[in-house]
């Protein structure tokens, strides 16, 4: 029996439906949820904490069915995007608010300890409106962590922070959560949050859970084009043309890729390749049995911070490769130029 279980959850709100969501987590798991705006991520979180009652399905926590429990009986903490700090209370009183209900004795000592660990001990007398985004985020985290909830839910807690503060916040969050072996469900739009924090990843779209699993699996083996695009991977539909004990060759309708994965000859499959697993060169590389080598033309170059996405057209098929700017400069890659794209067979993932 898993620590946390959601079974076939259905919720119908005015113009929105959450449809048949099922997933389970072990104690100490860190799940990140990604998906486009309006995918149902926040409704899912709020139904777990008890603000929406499902029309169908059950929610189990630590062996107990909590579907019909009111929020105050569930012992699940939530941190919102806007932090939802109580504006009429000081930072101290905000942190103490939940603690008063659970463990009113030695409150001040506990508050000081958690405030020191999150570096907000100098802010205890201040009102939330006088704090920066990062400080508010740490206060909201302290308020939840101090009551030691069975499950912590976070709805884009870093979205209002600048890049620098966000990096610090991630490190602090990881440390705080790991120290307490807390089980966390965290909604984010930033894949870096997922990489840095999560063990598991869930992708939502239009009220449905599209894919759920260990983060490496979802990132490297997206089940559909939608998930692939969301997690930064290429996805192609293809047909297996030949296979043996060690590899399969898949025709993508213009190009063929060889994968280490096994599949049946003639089988219709999906093929996923992560952008960063495609390397490029302006010279044909020496023959290497481990490599797929494709020749194409650079259609567009999209700078993305320290890297760039190169849009390559190979026999009528578009492939995106994520190349560091340093490598871009070394190769002096220009639009319209011919390039060789190399993909190791082990990075060509066949998804049935």
């Amino acid at each position: 029996m898993n620590f946390f279980n959601v079974q076939d959850l259905h919720i119908k709100l005015a113009e929105f439906n959450l449809q048949g969501v099922s997933l389970s987590l072990d104690q100490g798991d860190y799940l990140t949820i990604i998906g486009p705006t309006g995918a149902g991520k926040t409704i899912f979180l709020e139904s777990i904490v008890g603000f929406w009652h499902p029309d169908r399905g059950r929610i189990m926590l630590n062996g107990k069915d909590i579907t019909d429990e009111p929020p105050e009986k569930r012992h699940i903490g939530i941190v919102y995007q806007d932090y939802a700090l109580l504006p009429h209370m000081t930072v101290h009183d905000n942190i103490a608010y939940g603690l008063k209900k659970f463990r009113p004795e030695n409150m001040d000592q506990e508050i000081l300890e958690i405030a020191e660990s999150l570096n907000i001990d100098h802010l205890l007398h201040r009102k939330p409106s006088t704090l920066s985004g990062g400080e508010q985020q740490r206060v909201a985290l302290a308020r939840v962590l101090i009551v030691k909830p069975k499950l912590i839910l976070m709805d884009e807690p870093f979205s209002a922070l600048d890049q620098q503060t966000r990096r610090h916040a991630r490190i602090l969050m990881k440390k705080a959560v790991r120290e307490r072996s807390a089980t966390v469900i965290h909604i984010t739009h930033d894949l870096d949050d997922a990489w840095a924090l999560a063990d598991k990843l869930a992708v939502f779209n239009k009220g449905k859970l599209i894919q759920f699993g260990p983060i490496d699996t979802v990132f490297s083996r997206p089940k559909s084009k939608f998930v692939a695009e969301f997690v930064g991977a290429e996805f192609f539909d293809g047909t297996v043309t030949s296979c043996d004990d060690h590899s399969s060759r898949v025709d993508l309708g213009g190009i063929c890729l060889t994968s280490q994965d096994r599949a049946g000859e003639g089988e219709k499959v999906g093929v996923a390749v992560r952008y960063e697993n495609i390397s490029v060169s302006n010279r044909r590389p020496p023959d290497d049995a481990r490599l797929n080598v494709l020749e194409g033309v650079v259609e567009h170059i999209f700078p993305e911070g320290p890297s760039s996405i190169i849009d390559l057209k190979i026999n009528g098929i578009k492939i995106n490769a994520l190349i560091s700017n340093k490598r871009m400069n070394t190769l002096n890659i220009q639009q319209g130029e011919s390039l060789y794209a190399m993909i190791e067979k082990e990075h060509v993932n066949i998804v049935s």
């Binding site: 008890g50 105050e72 806007d82 939802a84 504006p87 939940g98 308020r143």
Partner: protein, 260 residues
């Protein structure tokens, strides 16, 4: 530099024109009567009775209005329930209803009906009594108060309440610990407006409680009765008192809004 157009001038001009007209009409209330007469009328037995009755009934009605407006405003803001739209429309109706018609409806409801007889048996007689003044004021002011309270709760982020509940507080505890303190300014504004409405209510009070000299005589009734007798001094004095109450109420309201 900003270009001043004819539309801009037209709007500003109209605002200033109406403001000047209102200032003159209110000023005339203070300028026309002899201040010595006003001072003398202020201490007359009738005026003191009327002022005292207005204050007592106004405070009781406002208290009752706020007691009802808080849960009504909260329910309309936060909950979905069957017939919510209908309830909202009916509760708002007295805002647009002529006061005299509202008074007539209340007279019919609390007169010689089953409900009226039942209430009389437990000592509540609302027809042509001081208790009737409170009821009339209550129904006139309630829609204003519940509207303000609904808007106040609409502005409070519901996530604050969600978080409070997730931290172990029941719905009622959350209302008392989070919603109510955050609605402080709205409650103050609503109380002030309700009190001003209660003190100034005329038509509803006249029909339900009657306009009996030195019995159900509140300030608007003093103005009405004395105008009828041709006693302009007393009428103007009660008018001045009502204006002062309105000014104080609006002043508090504006201050509260500015603070919010």
């Amino acid at each position: 530099m900003r270009r001043i157009g004819s539309f801009y001038l037209c709007c500003i001009g109209l605002s200033l024109l109406i403001t000047v007209l209102l200032v003159f009409s209110i000023a005339s209330l203070f300028l026309v009567p002899d201040l010595g007469d006003v001072w003398e009328n202020l201490w007359s037995e009738e005026m003191l009775f009327s002022l005292k009755l207005s204050m007592i009934t106004g405070v009781i009605s406002t208290g009752l209005v706020m007691l009802m407006a808080l849960p009504i405003g909260y329910a309309l803001s936060r909950f979905t329930f069957p017939l919510k739209g209908f309830v909202k429309t009916i509760l708002d109706l007295p805002v647009a209803f002529p006061e005299l018609v509202l008074g007539l409806c209340l007279l019919l409801l609390f007169g010689n009906t089953f409900l009226g007889d039942l209430l009389k048996k437990i000592g509540l007689n609302f027809v042509f009594t001081k208790q009737g003044i409170v009821v009339a004021q209550f129904f006139t002011a309630l829609p204003y108060a519940s509207r303000i309270m609904k808007s106040t709760f609409d502005y409070i982020n519901p996530r604050l309440e969600f978080v409070s509940r997730s931290l172990g507080y029941s719905q009622m505890e959350t209302f008392l610990n989070v919603s109510l303190p955050l609605a402080k300014n709205g409650i103050l504004a609503s109380t002030v407006i309700s009190f001003a409405r209660c003190i100034g209510t005329f038509g509803t009070v006249l029909i339900l409680a009657g306009g009996t000299y030195m019995k159900t005589e509140v300030l608007p009734m003093t103005l009405y009765l004395n105008i009828s007798y041709g006693n302009m001094g007393m009428a103007l004095t009660s008018g001045i008192l009502l204006t002062v109450v309105s000014f104080v109420a609006i002043y508090f309201f504006e201050r509260t809004e500015a603070c919010t």
